[in-house]
Structures are given as C-alpha cells and as structure tokens.
C-alpha cells in the first residue's frame, strides 16, 4: 500500500493538447497532494516521449486524440521500449467506449478515466494503478 508521502513524491507527466486541460489536471494533482512541483507537461505524444527520454517520470496521464502524435501512437512507442513500458500510463479521454478501452489496454495502458471527471476520481484511479504496480 502506498503511503501519502510516497504519493507526494511522484513525478507525473500530463499529456494533452489542451493547455486548459493540462492546467486543470495540474491543479487537481496539486490540490490532492500528489506530485507537487514534480508535474511535467507535453502537448502531444512526441513531446511526451522526449520528456520520458530525458527526465524521471513515475506516472503518465494522457489524452488520446491529439494533433501530431496521438495517445495511441505514443503507447505503441512506449510498449516497444523495455525502459518506458514499466512506467504506468493512465488515459484521460472523452471516449471510453469498450472498443477504445480494449485497444488501449492491449497497448499496456494501466488505467482509464473518462472526461468529465470529478477531481476525486482522478486521485482514486491514480491510487488504484499505483497500488497495483507496487
């Protein structure tokens, strides 16, 4: 079981083409006490991979539909890398159809959160995924 202090030291990468959504998620994480000061942002999958190759990241929160490299394309790259695929990825998307969830889980996604979401739901899915990883 993760302790509160372990959650507080997390380094989280937020991947979304919407600056507003990235700010919203950042605010939820900070208000939840998760990863204060250790939140990185990327506007698409390509930027996210660049961050993952250069900085320590414990958890990725990613949208799917993004111009440039999509969340699905990013997951293909992560799944093919022995180094990167150990990092848990949670999808935060408006599309949670069974087909979409199944295809993303097949790529190694650890959790799924549908927009809109209550702030507590984000913390809950993060906690659930990290406990499963521990």
């Amino acid at each position: 079981m993760l302790t509160d202090s372990e959650e507080r030291t997390l380094s989280v990468l937020v991947v979304d083409d919407s600056p507003a959504m990235r700010s919203f998620i950042r605010r939820v994480l900070e208000m939840s006490g998760i990863a204060p000061g250790a939140i990185r942002e990327a506007g698409d999958g390509k930027q996210a991979l660049e961050v993952l190759e250069t900085a320590p990241v414990d958890l990725v929160l990613s949208d799917i539909n993004m111009p440039g490299m999509s969340g699905s394309q990013m997951m293909l790259r992560i799944a093919s890398s022995p180094e990167l695929r150990r990092i848990p990825v949670i999808i935060v998307s408006t599309d949670s159809s069974p087909k979409r969830v199944k295809s993303m889980m097949a790529l190694g996604v650890r959790g799924f959160l549908q927009k809109p979401f209550h702030p507590e739901s984000l913390r809950s899915v993060i906690h659930h995924v990290l406990v499963a990883e521990a």
Partner: protein
Amino acid sequence: MSTFRDELHQLCAAAVPDVLETMFFVNAVEDSAPPPPDPLVVDVGFRGSRSGVFTIRLSAGVARDLASGFLGVAVEQVTTGQAIETACELANMLCGGVLSRSETECGFDLEAPVAATEPYSPLTPVVYRTQFLLDNGGWLELEFRVTGGIREAA
C-alpha cells in the same frame, strides 16, 4: 420512431449539465435565449458512426467565467487566450460527452477544437441546435451538423 434529432436532444440534455457541473462547477438548464452579439464560436469535427461538426457559441464574458472556474483563477485575471482555450476544451468535452453516450460500441474520433471566425456556417445544414442557460446568467448554444461519411472509428 426516434430520429437522430430526438436522440441528440436526449443526449445533450444529459451530457451538457454533466460536463458543466462536474468540471466547470456551473449548473445548466436547457432553455431558449436570444443569441449574444459577437459570440465566441468553437468547432469540433467528429468521426464515428456519423461524421460532422459540433459547434458551441458563448459570449466572451461566459467564456471568462467558465475559465475562471476551470482554471481556478480569479475572473479578472483570466486572459483572452485562457478563455478561448477553455472554450475549446469545453467544446471538446461536450462533443465527447454526447458521442460517448451514443457511440457506445465502436467509439469515435474528435479533431482538435478550432475557434471559428464565422458565427454561423452556411455550408452544412444544422441537424440539431439547442441552448442552455447557466446559473451564472450566461448562455451557451450548441449545434450538430452532419456531413455524412459513416465509418467505423479507429
């Protein structure tokens, strides 16, 4: 027999208050209202079992109010850019909120929201248009235009 328009009416009635209350902390009720002058307009292209364009219209003041709640910034500190970005994300979530209730099996794809320059597009017939009044006194209009091209989303 239920039509696509009837379906959209039911889907919007469920999705719009859900999105606004959950992530923007604003209550909304479906109602008619005169359109605001010079509205901010955002288009989102969608592809699923049906393809088309979803559009929202709202006043600049409403966009600022929504951005304030969404970003946790005092309304007087919200920049024009933040108001537009938030309106784009609102359009994305509203369109996704409706389609996720409709495209329950095969999913859908959304294009990046775009702030439009023309308040009303003459290009494609409107399938469904509705308006919501917000409890902050604001007004929001939504519309769906279907361009056809039925295909299965990736």
